[in-house]
Amino acid sequence: MIIGLDVGGTHTDAVLIGHEGIEKEVKVPTDETQLFQTVTAGLEEVTAGVDPKMIRRVVLSTTLAANLIVQRKLPPVGMIVAGGPGIDPELFCINDCYYAVKGAMDHRGRELAAIDEDQIRQIAEELQKSGVRYAGVATKFSVHNPEHENQIADILAPYFERVFIGHQLSGNLNFPRRITTTYLNAAVYPVHKEFFEAVKQSLLQKGLDVPIRILKPDGGNMSFDSSVDHPAMTILSGPSASVMGALAYAPKSGVTLVLDIGGTTTDMAILIDGVPLLAPQGIEIGPYKTLIRALRTQSMGVGGDSVVRLVDGGLTVGPERQGRALAFGGPVVTPTDAFCVLGLMAGGDRNRAVEGLTPIAEALNLSLEKAALAIFDQACAQIMAGAREMIDRINSKPVYTVHELWEGSAIKPRHIMVLGGPAPQFAERLATHFDGSVSVVPHWQVANALGCALARTTSEVTLFADTAQQVAVASGEHLTREISNRFTLDDARELALQLLREKAVRRGANPDYLDLEVIEAYQFNMIRGFHTIGKNIRIRAQVKPGLIQGYDPVSGKLQREDL
């Protein structure tokens, strides 16, 4: 059996899934200030009365790292960066202990200026004296040549508890994002490590000696050991938990819009042929733009508890929440009150809802029921407008080849899947605002925790090969290999897939069921004068985000001997 636990803003959901399907599902309130207690309470409840030996895996999605970042509770980190021609690296300064040092590479990864070892040693000593225990290194074009980052990291190593290195965190080009990503990993590292070690201990005390996995924002998971090397990869995994929860029941072809409608917000994502769409670059959180791979999700301030207002004779919903609905003792009218009035909701004080809606109905000159429907429709209309905006943005994403521009067709969702608290109510009404089909995700109240439990291990690999310089670099995989000048695009694909396979297994994937794909493969002839001097090859490959082998969505059962 697998435990999936997803910490949300208001509730923490947990499920226990096994050969008989969902054995248990629980909800406990989230206390952001007591996250450890929240997680252990959830685990406690979901495992109560279950034989610990039956539990084979725990998958967690928490708000730990995101909270640290948003609340700016980050420890000091020594950031060492080296630029080169272009924007002054001082302008990318991200924190107090930020040093732009000597050393430069050009766009093909050829050294322009060497690093100055003494300069770095001096900085390291200074930082150590002032009590800084974690460091990050990021240099320009390190994904084409990681030499400088490695040299700097080697010098720093003795002075710090842990040094994070830019090229090992992402193979993508973007120096400012590399700096940010390196910084955030170093900054969340100590709390992350301590937190999950504590979780592990508390599980052990319950007799649960099982691997802990942590959900990533790209809809995949990684082992705890692996997460210690990439702690920032746990940021904002919440939306991906919901998407993975919907995935099992999603149409295998066509474009599907997934809506996770909560109390405060609606999170949206897109599935194409049953596979979630990834964000083009990486997560953006607070002021930080990163290279942390994530599903493409968008959040908007419309939910069951959003504030309803009359503005210039028209209704608005959200974007903020001021507590619960009137019917549940809150201060203002919300869509939930409209459900109450319409009799779509069990529980709640209908009288209070009616009282709140009456002035709105009078102002709109409508009956109470019609006013409630108008509120409902307004919420649906805003959600659909947000979805259209997201889809327009996806469709206007620039492409760089004639083929893609000429052949590329715009996506248009044919199906909507709804999950979250008010999912059934919304699904029915959304159908009248949409010209495709709408369905409610099974287990809509805990689908996020289910998604967490069932997500497979993902990873990606970026490979650059330059046959003129006779070198292949997959910086994230610590690989810099001499290659022959006859190295081909197919060789590069093969190498990338091999590296990806190894990486996925290292992160905890099941080697028998790897769903690998090459997502980008470019090859350029490099001509100097009128001669071809070599080929410049770029490959990106990934484990497709998806569910683990053995889960049967029809029966809802997990058919795996080992789990």
Partner: protein, 441 residues
């Protein structure tokens, strides 16, 4: 966090799957390292810089500018529809006020494409700036436009298209035509009889460096722009004046290009040539983007740049100063020069042979313009080439007077189809394009 002072739009379209031929300078690899540099700098993440996906231009957009012989499909590939579309997208973003300024970083380029097109010359098939400008004039009612062409090669195609248009100021700064393709662009090329002075050529001697280019902008281009008072300034931003360019002989640097961009304050820049794909383009394009956005570019120095080595001689400086005196004199005396040219009767003629170096085509043209006090004048071009046959092309200008409109239609309707395979009419006031051809007569 970096924030652009000017909201800046970018279309980046490197056409990674398109080349004139595998080893041609205009090939897939051309913007690869530029992409690497632009991505690695994180330029597209900077607040206030917006990347747009290029629209495609329509055949109508193309035919507002060009006479394609025999038709647009014969002379264009998909990539040309996109690169012209990229310029158009940026133009629209600026006109719609979505951004203050914009840069179309697209290929293939266009400034060697004339009004009549039989094929590719100087790597260009259709004139992407002109297609954009004429679209903006039609859609937004823009009237006065200035084009400053800073490619190392004379922008002879743009010059040809605007030769008779008094509302378009075309300034080309380039390496002296006696030393470089296409061998034109001399001081005495000032525009046709209805538009004398609105074409300005500033040939610079080989080995001109930052000093000479910036002098040219400050002392010649800016004063003339101030006089002309354009509503839009377009920069045909070729990058082959760079000291590392393999097919030219100038000594301009990336920071020099950024300074030029800063001085010129163009509303729209469109990439033209530039074939030092590793040594120049990544740095020059970054410099132009930073300068357009109003960001600091002082850290942008090519790894092998040596200011001393690329400094121009005092002789070059003097030569450029003398050129400046003549350029400004021509500009100030443009009205007198026009009167001298207009002593001729009603129509003015010129005959030309045009070689399409990229496609190896020879074209012969005979052009007649109606000398007109009121408008740009009706234009009649007889054209034929060894590969595409012959045609008659009649252009009625955008703000044509009644007489020129009638003259245009008279030329179009009275022409004999036994002499021409096709007869084309560009009726700009009506935004129409008509064709008469043998089999459909």
């Amino acid at each position: 966090m970096l924030r652009a002072k000017n909201k800046t739009g970018l279309v980046f379209f490197p056409a990674f799957d398109w080349a004139i031929s595998p080893t041609h300078p205009e090939r897939e690899e051309r913007l690869l390292y530029t992409q690497d540099q632009v991505f690695e700098e994180g330029l597209l993440d900077i607040e206030g810089i917006f990347e747009y996906k290029p629209d495609l231009v329509t055949v109508k957009d193309v035919q507002r500018v060009h006479f394609c012989i025999p038709d647009p499909w014969a002379v264009m590939t998909e990539s040309h529809f996109i690169s012209a579309g990229g310029a158009k997208t940026i133009g629209m973003a600026v006109m719609d006020g979505k951004v203050d300024r914009g840069f179309a970083l697209v290929r293939p380029p266009g400034h060697h494409a004339n009004r009549v097109v039989h094929g590719a010359r100087g790597f260009c098939n259709v004139n992407i700036e002109a297609i954009m400008i004429e679209y903006l004039r039609r859609a937004y009612g823009v009237d006065r436009v200035a084009i400053v062409d800073t490619d190392c090669h004379h922008g002879d195609g743009t010059q040809d298209i605007y030769w008779h248009d008094p509302d378009t100021l075309f300034i080309s700064i380039h390496q002296d035509g006696r030393t470089l393709y296409p061998g034109s662009g001399f001081l005495n090329e000032n525009g046709g009889p209805n538009a004398v002075g609105s074409t300005i050529n500033i040939p610079l001697p080989p080995h001109t460096s930052d000093e000479g280019f910036l002098y040219t902008i400050k002392e010649m281009v800016l004063p003339i722009l101030q006089d002309f008072k354009p509503q839009l300034i377009i920069n045909s931003a070729g990058q082959d004046n760079h000291y590392s360019d393999p097919i030219t002989n100038m000594n301009f640097s990336a920071r020099g290009y950024a300074q030029l961009t800063d001085l010129l304050q163009a509303d729209i820049a469109v990439l033209e040539g530039g074939y030092s794909i590793e040594g120049a383009l990544p740095y020059v394009n970054t410099g132009i983007i930073l300068a357009m956005a109003g960001l600091d570019y002082n850290h942008l120095v090519e790894p092998d740049y040596d200011e001393e080595r690329y400094r121009q001689t005092s002789e070059t400086t003097r030569y450029i100063e003398q050129t400046g005196v003549r350029v400004l004199k021509n500009w100030q005396q443009r009205r007198r020069l026009a009167e001298e040219m207009r002593v001729q009767p009603q129509c003015s003629h010129r005959s030309r042979r045009i070689f399409y170096d990229t496609d190896n085509i020879y074209e012969v043209q005979s052009e007649t313009i109606r000398v007109c006090e009121e408008c740009a004048g009706a234009l009649r071009i007889e054209t034929s080439s060894d590969k595409r046959g012959n045609a008659l092309a009649v252009h009625i200008p955008r703000k044509a007077c009644h007489t020129c409109k009638e003259q245009g239609y008279q030329w179009y309707e009275s022409a004999k189809l036994d002499l021409f395979e096709r007869i084309h009419l560009q009726d700009r006031p009506e935004d129409k394009y008509l064709v008469r051809q043998r089999n459909s007569a």
